[in-house]
């Protein structure tokens, strides 16, 4: 068997020196990748996945060093190879793709030269042959108009195109192994589908082996042949894809699945993994997951579990691997029965119709593009171009769309952080769009916001106490100092932070806890509506579940309404009552969450739902992803904005923007496929 293995990693241990401590970031990791095989390394942030990949290439940062182990490619040992020879292999035998296409390309070199550089280094091609080969590569990675793109600079390309160029660079020297470190994490879902499709095709065509590093189980499900789960610097489970998705046998893998938000988890709360990843600078006595494991036994805290083989090729580092696996299979059956019985969640119909809280009608936010000496407006970026929706109290409206569609601008315009160009926002019947700042202040306590990045949204130089207190001090001036302290203590308890956190600073908290602080800050002033701007997209899946549960609980307890801005359809499904899908500044479809998600009418909604990677027990054929990328909001295409990418586009679509068609009372769409007259056609 071993001659078929292309890459063999054995007992790899890498430590990082940080502030005097030795962090065991990669600890005794062994795996192997066969020829023409995609191997996925899965884990949450900070578990050592990227460092493993960098250790293979010996491209570690200065503070890190490889302590022991062996890395063999084609039987040749890499860890003891002289640097000069290894350089031929880097980019030659092994190509690498990074997460952030925006920063991985040199901004002052043309695309053609950057790819050509890899060719000059690793092949004998020179002169015109290089150019020809680069053009071939650009064609292979699906870049249209390659002659022109050859001379373009990275800033002239979109995010998806940049990632394609990165892939072309990685492939330039015909590598036999491709290491892809979170290749689609920074991309939108339709673009992600395109890139994954491209990588699958290239792998088949070129007979490459791929080491795919990701945190996204759905991506793994679509791409991988073999899966390894990493936790706290160690591999905890290795399995073939189908076995892993059908019968995960490590408690950690199982809880990752359980924490995923999705359609069938709408009614209840998501299961969470308690606690956080342990610090890696000490020695571990027992199982590293024991402290967070639901079914930990005394032996787990004492002995480090050995590899247990549960079936052919499926190995787990757990004392109770078989029991765990059996529990999963029983539990799974129960869950599916329960989901079938429960059907649609009751709350959508049973409750009395709540009052209207926020009404947005024909909201427009246009940013002028100023040019020239006098800075006259030469044109407008129509970030939001006529958006209307309502939110009732105690309900959640999810605003879904890809980056750049204007959803965040809508959120800020609702809060009057950005003033609308035209249109109206009414809060409890009061128009607030044109209120001066002073008259707006009393309303500020009703409308609050939670941001995407919990690292950037808290002032690093203020204690948690003063962060939470800021709003109370500004808006609830009637409270005395003592009352304020009481209110603060109550709120910190409400969001599940220890009361001692007041005096601590944000950097002492983990990402999930920081997001709790941000939620506490918003809650402190007693809001009725909270704009949640991608509150979980910077968090790991287990932490995401905690935050979503918290938001759901607060809604039930306090009757909060949420405007939930997100690109993640799985989150939408688990939390939202209503959904509005945005494309290039306009809402193209809106309605009840079940309606929209179950029978989407607009081709864009359909493609969003179709592009999102899903976890399937057995891989099925997928429809081809939607082509192209979102055009610029400066010059939107004539007619329907989606027409250039739409598979069903008609001549009419390129002429006129479609009007609103009511499918029925709670579902409307703007698409020529659904003409207003013939409403209610048979659903597809």
């Amino acid at each position: 068997m071993s001659e078929e293995r292309l890459l063999e990693v054995e007992h790899l241990t890498t430590i990082v020196h940080a502030d005097g401590a030795k962090v065991h970031a990669v600890d005794d990791v062994s795996f192997s990748i066969g020829r023409n095989e995609t191997f996925a390394l899965v884990g949450e942030s900070g578990c050592g996945k990227s460092l493993t990949a960098l250790s293979l290439m010996r491209l570690l940062p200065e503070a890190a060093e490889i302590r022991s182990g062996s890395v063999r490619v084609d039987g040749e040992e890499w860890l003891s190879m002289p640097e000069l020879r290894l350089r031929d292999h880097r980019g030659g035998t092994v190509g690498m793709i990074f997460q952030e296409p925006m920063t991985s390309l040199n901004p002052v070199m043309t695309v053609g030269r950057q790819i050509g550089e890899a060719l000059l280094r690793h092949t004998d091609l020179r002169g015109k042959a290089v150019r020809k080969r680069v053009l071939d590569l650009l064609a292979q990675v699906g870049i249209a108009d390659r002659e022109r793109r050859y001379g373009d600079y990275p800033f002239q390309l979109s995010g998806g195109q940049k990632q394609r160029v990165m892939i072309a660079m990685a492939l330039a020297a015909r590598p036999r192994i491709l290491i892809a470190d979170e290749p689609t994490t920074a991309l939108d879902v339709t673009i992600q589908a395109q890139i994954l499709e491209l990588m699958r095709g290239l792998q088949r065509e070129r007979q490459m082996s791929v080491l795919l590093i990701t945190h996204d189980l759905a991506v793994v499900s679509e791409m991988a042949h073999q899966v390894a789960v990493m936790y706290a610097g160690q591999l905890v489970e290795r399995a073939p894809r189908d076995a892993f998705f059908a019968r995960p046998a490590h408690p950690y893998s199982q809880s990752l699945f359980a924490a995923l938000p999705g359609r069938n988890r709408r009614a209840g709360t998501l299961s969470v993994i308690k606690g956080t990843v342990p610090p890696l600078d000490g020695a571990f006595a027992g199982c590293r997951f024991a402290a967070r494991c639901e079914s930990a036994a005394p032996v787990c805290a004492q002995d480090s579990p050995p590899w247990t083989r549960v079936e052919e090729g499926h190995e787990v580092r757990c004392h109770f691997a078989r029991e765990t696996q059996a529990r999963w299979e029983n539990g799974k059956a129960r869950v599916s029965v329960a989901a079938g019985a429960a059907g649609l969640p009751a709350q959508s119909a049973a409750r009395p119709q709540p009052s209207e809280l926020l009404t947005v009608s024909d909201l427009k936010v246009h940013f002028p593009i100023r040019k020239g000496f006098l800075k006259r407006a030469q044109g407008y970026v129509k970030a939001v171009d006529g958006v209307s929706f309502q939110i009732r109290s105690g309900r959640t409206l999810a605003l879904v769309g890809e980056s750049g569609c204007g959803k965040t601008t809508v959120g800020k315009a609702v809060l009057q952080l950005i003033r609308a160009t035209s249109g109206e926002v009414r809060f409890q019947g009061v128009p607030i769009t044109r209120l001066p700042e002073a008259r707006l202040r009393p309303l500020r306590s009703d409308l609050q916001i939670i941001f995407q990045d919990p690292y950037a949204s808290l002032d690093p130089r203020m204690t948690v106490g003063s962060i939470v207190e800021e709003g109370i001090a500004a808006l609830r001036t009637e409270l005395s100092r003592g009352q304020r302290a009481q209110a603060m203590e109550r709120i910190l308890g409400q969001v599940g932070l220890p009361p001692a956190s007041e005096a601590r600073y944000p950097h002492e908290f983990s990402g999930g806890q920081r997001q709790r602080v941000a939620i506490a800050r918003a809650l402190a002033v007693g809001p009725r509506l909270i704009v949640c701007d991608e509150p979980t997209s910077a968090l790991d899946v287990s932490v995401q579940a905690q935050v979503l549960n918290l938001l759901k609980r607060l809604q039930d307890e306090l009757g909060l309404a949420y405007l939930f801005i997100t690109h993640n359809l799985a989150v939408v499904a688990s939390l939202a009552h209503e959904v509005a899908v945005m494309y290039l500044g306009r809402i193209v479809e809106q309605g009840d969450a079940e309606e929209v998600l179950d029978s989407p009418r607009h081709p864009y909604t359909q493609s969003l739902l179709g592009s999102a990677p899903v976890i399937e027990r057995v891989r099925t054929a997928r429809p081809p992803p939607t082509q192209g990328e979102m055009p610029s909001a400066i010059e939107p295409p004539p007619g329907c904005h989606f027409a250039p990418r739409c598979a069903h586009a008609m001549p009419l679509c390129r002429e006129r923007y479609p009007g609103v068609t009511r499918i029925h009372a709670h579902h409307s769409v703007r698409c020529h496929l659904w003409p207003a007259a013939s409403s209610l056609p048979d659903s597809t």
Binding site: D19, K412, L415, L417, E437, L440, R441, R444, L447, Q448, I449, F451, Q452, D453, Y455, A456, S457, L458, D459, P460, R461, M462, I467, E470, G471, A474, L475, Y505, H507, E508, A518, R521, A522, V525
Partner: protein, 484 residues
Amino acid sequence: MPLSFSFWGHAWSVEWVVLWTDALLYVLIVAAVLLALYIRRHPPLQRPWSRVVRSPMAMGAAVILAAYAAIGLLDSVHVRLPIAPVKGSTVRYYSPELLSVFDLIAGPLRTHTEYSYSAPFATRLYTQETVRLPDGQTRREYPRLKYGGAGLKSAAELGGDVCARVARALAEAGAAWLVAAAALTWRLARRHRCAVWQMALRCLRGDTQVPWRTIGLTFGVVLALGWSAGALCTHYHILGTDEVGRDVFYLSLKSVRTGLVIGTVTTLVMLPFALALGISAGYFRGWVDDVVQYVYTTLNSIPGVLLIAAAVLILQSYMDRHAGLYDTVAARADMRLLFLCLILGITSWTGLCRLLRGETLKLCEADYIQAARAFGVGHGRIITRHILPNVMHIVLISVVLDFSSLVLAEAVLSYVGVGVDPSTISWGNMINSARLEMARQPAVWWPLASAFIFMFALVLSANLFADVVREALDPRTKGRGGER
């Protein structure tokens, strides 16, 4: 303000005079102390500073800077001594001559003036003079100095005398150092709850977080040099004398204050401009931003030296026309020094202002500022609570980096002739007069060399200190720990 007190049995009665630059220096010290207290109470601000305190290089430099600061501060408390009263009169008059506490301490240095140039440790003048002999004849010779080596019978005793004095001074300095080190070790041992000898061993091995070994070593060197110089300078002109016979060592020490004033007061002048304009440009944008940008772009495009020269010359002619405005020469010179600080400040705020504008533009997009705006927090509070603390590191970095370049700028400007008043003792003026001294034959090299050595030590230690501060505070350098 007249002050009366008794000291060592003498009844002193002096008039305390606060010059403008003195007042500003006092304000600066109070501000620095308040800032230090503020930083101590806020751990996120304190963290980078603890890195500075742990750096041996920074602390070594800090000891030297502290020595300079001590001299400068003693030289910044000015008094006027009483003139012996006329018999029978009860009115007390004060001398028009303004003296600082440093002058009083260094009394002999100030009063021991010779006739003209004399080399370091010389017993005779550097130039030949015509002396009238008792018998009426005249002769050309190098006359004996009035004070330099006055107690010596012949020049041959010079070496032995100097060695003896240095040896004694070193012994005394060593004893003083031991006492100080023992006191410190005892305190450290109390704080760390361990035996004194263990603490001493740890200090010697360099096994302490704060680099006490380096601090002790630097302090020892400074003490030894200072003590020896102090012991010698009452009997010799250790760095020679200048053209009118003033002791060059005294001049070099007096220049310290001028350098410190220029380096620090200028920042005090510059900071309000840079902070107010930079932050408001970045925060309010729109026309405010346009105006501020136009102002600093315009100011930047005028050569600094030209602007300074014009301003100083205007002030000069104004002072000449209104000679009665100042009651002492020192007050007048001080006014010019202050004005130089002002004009240097006005021409140098643009760089920091631009940095602050950019940083504020970036910060305004930060989510926590957006969150504060969503709470309806006012502009003033957002600026003081969120923006100011988050740009403070830039301010501190640029202040410590600017200090040394300002000290050097003073030298350059005085050399060109548009710097401080000619009567103000400064390194710049010493270098300016060296123009002629180096041109004569044989050359007079010691005033230039002294100014160079003193300025070099100050600027070098300031630069070393600034380097560490920049590294610790700059968020771009690695290891800010915790913040992402």
